[in-house]
């Protein structure tokens, strides 16, 4: 029965990640808690926030982020590096320093997804080649993991919409019967 427990844990982690929205992914190995409370994060390393960017205001020079279950705010200034990575809806790692009552971001880095064991990466060039061949000739099954609404608005030709929630609920039914088919998963970005 151990297997069922593991699957449940994975399902929970996926769901927790799903709540974070978009394309946010942790390790996928199921060992890291996606819903770690902020207090624990702060104990571990008081000057780093990891989470989804909820908003960026250039006028107030402030970034708001969802870290675990909390919403936090960090100020930024002209010395803050990597502000390109502070984009609303995307996962980021923000290093900051405390100055008086405020926290100031020093560096913003994208929070990149790690590949699960046994899964390899595919680049744009190879993707373009495959899509040009089509799923039959190319022998592939292309899965778009984003929410259905975003798929509807615009997706890679020949891709199939299987949002993460659907994948958790009935993955095997939605994927091809032949387990050796090349499956290519993608979503809304590298994070």
């Amino acid at each position: 029965m151990k297997k069922i427990k593991v699957l449940r844990l994975v399902a929970f982690l996926v769901f927790a990640g799903f709540l974070a929205g978009g394309c946010v992914g942790n390790t996928g190995s199921g060992t890291q808690s996606a819903a770690a409370p902020t207090s624990a994060v702060e104990k571990k390393d008081a000057n780093v926030y990891k989470g989804k960017v909820a908003g960026v205001s250039n006028k107030a020079k402030s970034i708001s982020m969802v870290v675990g279950k909390d919403l936090v705010m960090v100020k930024f200034d002209d010395d803050t590096k990597g502000m390109d990575h502070a984009k609303k809806g995307e996962a980021a790692i923000v290093h900051f320093e405390v100055r008086g009552a405020d926290k100031f971001a020093t560096v913003v880095k994208p929070k990149l997804a790690k590949l699960p064991a046994g899964v390899t990466e595919i680049q744009s060039e190879e993707m373009i080649g495959l899509v040009a061949l089509g799923p039959e000739k190319g022998g592939f099954f292309l899965v778009d993991s984003r929410p259905a609404g975003r798929f509807a608005a615009g997706h890679v030709p020949s891709s199939v919409s299987i949002p993460v929630g659907a994948m958790v609920a009935k993955g095997a039914e939605l994927l091809p019967a032949d387990k050796d088919t090349l499956l290519v998963f993608h979503c809304g970005g590298p994070t």
Partner: protein, 242 residues
Amino acid sequence: MSSKSAGLAKKLGYTNVKIYLQGVPGWKKAGQSVVASDAFIQKGNIILVDLRSEKESAAGHIARTVNIPYDELEDYLDDFDSKAPVVIYGDNAKGARKELAQAGIKGVSLIDGGLQGYQARGGKLVSGEPATEIEWVRKLGKGEVSSEEFLVVAEEGSATQVVLDVRGAEETVGGTFSNVITIPLDNLEARMAELPKDKEMLVHCTTGARAEMAHTVLKKAGFKSRFLVGDLSCEGGDCTVE
């Protein structure tokens, strides 16, 4: 999220699982087009553009189409709302997508297989003169208040609602609305005791970015609020919203 799904597929016994980490943004960056679903083309809140000639378009186009012949596209670029999802079809759709992207209109999709593909999947066409003017109204997002509703409360007051201005002190010099509480976003958490628990707060700044952040903070703290997205300008004590 793709890594989660790929991990699940691996656990289900699939032997050949890959991830395209760059995802849809990477695909577009590589110069490739995305396609919209047929249901979205029929029902979505989109700008649907037929790039063919007037004559071809009148003979048969998808309902709700705006006909903008490709060689006239340049004249219409200012009419596109950069927030609007756009679906284009007709010859030159790929070229038009690039032209639109250069003009800052990035949410552009094509039709899978073009108009022929659409018809082959059972998509219907209508004949007659298509529209020639772009008319698109943004739908309010979650937690947003319309500028009409906002202005009534801001100017005339309300027993159940109040406007919360989260701009900085130096920005409110030009003026504020009459029925308003002003607390800069930076001080919001420290000054929550000043906020009414029994009224819905309609939050504004100058664009909507800080207002949305404040809305999120207020919601978490158990207050009722919505936020305004729109360009605000104040002069001589009076504010207007665009």
